[in-house]
Amino acid sequence: MSESVVEPVKVGRYRDAEREFWAVRAADARSVRELRMPFDMWAAIGPPGWVLGPDRPLEELRSLPPVRPGARVFGVEQANPDDDSYARPLLGWIKPATALIGAGATMRFPAHTTALDCEPEVVVVIGRAVSRRATPTDAVLGWTLGGDTSVRDVGRPTGAADLYTMKAQDEASPVGPTIVIGPADDVLRDSPRTIAVDDAPADPITAAVDDLAAVLLFLDERCRLRPGDLVFTGTGRRPTPVAGRWLAEGGRVRISAAGADDLEVVVGAKERARRPSRWSSSSPEVLGV
């Protein structure tokens, strides 16, 4: 008897001529069914209890980043268990929601950098409040792919890297295309990720988080996590920069992981500075994180 393969449930955010909405995407990726319940409700109860609308052809809709309006975007770096060079304890940062773009969008290339990089990451989506007594990871709704676009030529103004300049660029970090509903532990631990730029061979990425519960508690102790919040979970050992060079105008960035649809974006034209800056002649060191 052959073993049947159960497709994970994937939820996306879409827009038609009138409004934006969440919908379950069909396995063949040709249609969606609208989720007709409030986010807090469907995120908490899980697929068996969902109330869905009729099939709608995907080609009639525009795909958006799977981000709840008002959601916050956190990021962490944690140890790769076999690499002591990684941050201990956790290192946290924030992206404004305006930093996010969806699959197929154009990545902003700010004027102030010549070292634009992108880290392929598993992005955990929070579905309900984190329990501080039971199992913190029960708060996870699912996961999606993210490109943690990072400006590498930043300084260390406080002794630590300027993570604001590095991580918070508007319209530069892709997420999506859909949320894979279910626990994220396995994909964080076992599923290899790759990132490819243009036609170069894809770079394999190792796991970055070895204890998702600790990550959630680290964030939740500082900022109470809310349903819909996103957590970029870091990049494990990988070549830097991607494919041996920084991102360039027109480059195609494709992030992949088993179980998820590919996330692909194009790097936009480099912006021009509006006015001279007192820092434009400085040459900050190139930093990781």
Partner: protein, 284 residues
Amino acid sequence: MKIVRYRGSDEQPSWGVLDDEEWTVRPLLAPFAEWAPVAAWADGPDDLPVGAAVAAGEITLLAPLQPGARVFGTGINYGSHLLDAKRADAAHPPTPPGYIKLDSTIVNPFGEVRYPTTTTRLDYEVELVAVVARPIGDEDPTAALLGYTVGNDICHRDEVSTSRQPATELFSRKSLDGTAPVGPWVTTLAEIGVGQPDLRISQTVNGEPRQDDTTKNMHVTIPEILDWFDSRTRARPGDLLFTGTVGGVGLLTDQFLAPGDRLDASIERIGTLTVWIGEPSWAR
């Protein structure tokens, strides 16, 4: 002119124009992005889409944060604050430090600041906070402001080194829920002007003077800070920008905050932002 964010008797949060002589508020009846650029230079509420005046005694002041707006900050921006480090080699950084606060960090005027469980060295920082009215154009970036308010960047001083960062990352220091009081209102640009403001800025803890300087002593000027942030995260109507604190923080004398402390942060021509420190707790 002073702009307040408040909750009225209907419990709905609103923006309004405060008359601080008659102590009345006239609610602003249009979206923030429509009235804010006009209010920045208006002589009074008659130039704005306002409703009937309500007695200020019937409102509760809220922090002047537009829903969906973002909160940014920079630091190490006054020479007097360098002395707080108690190091002979303390210097302004070669590039500005930047950080982000979430909306959940913001505390209303006369509210209670959370004492995070992640620190035992909680400190205060009075700061001039710029409030954005519209996108920044080619002119002086401060021309895009609605005005200024007072902020208290309550932060922790515990050093936590990691293998990749030699000092505490700013997320754990600056972005903790319930630690950033802002208010009590916005004084508009018409009263403060375009360019670098020159305003006395001070703070007391339980009535004891701790911080005192003037905003003209900023190392990186507000036009420069706005331009620096705008090149990374384009300024949007309602965004807040903390611009750094002056000398005299608790780090200087190891007099850190304790539950029950009262903080009065004052800036000339704006007002005084009063809050109290709560008991230690997790984010909630």
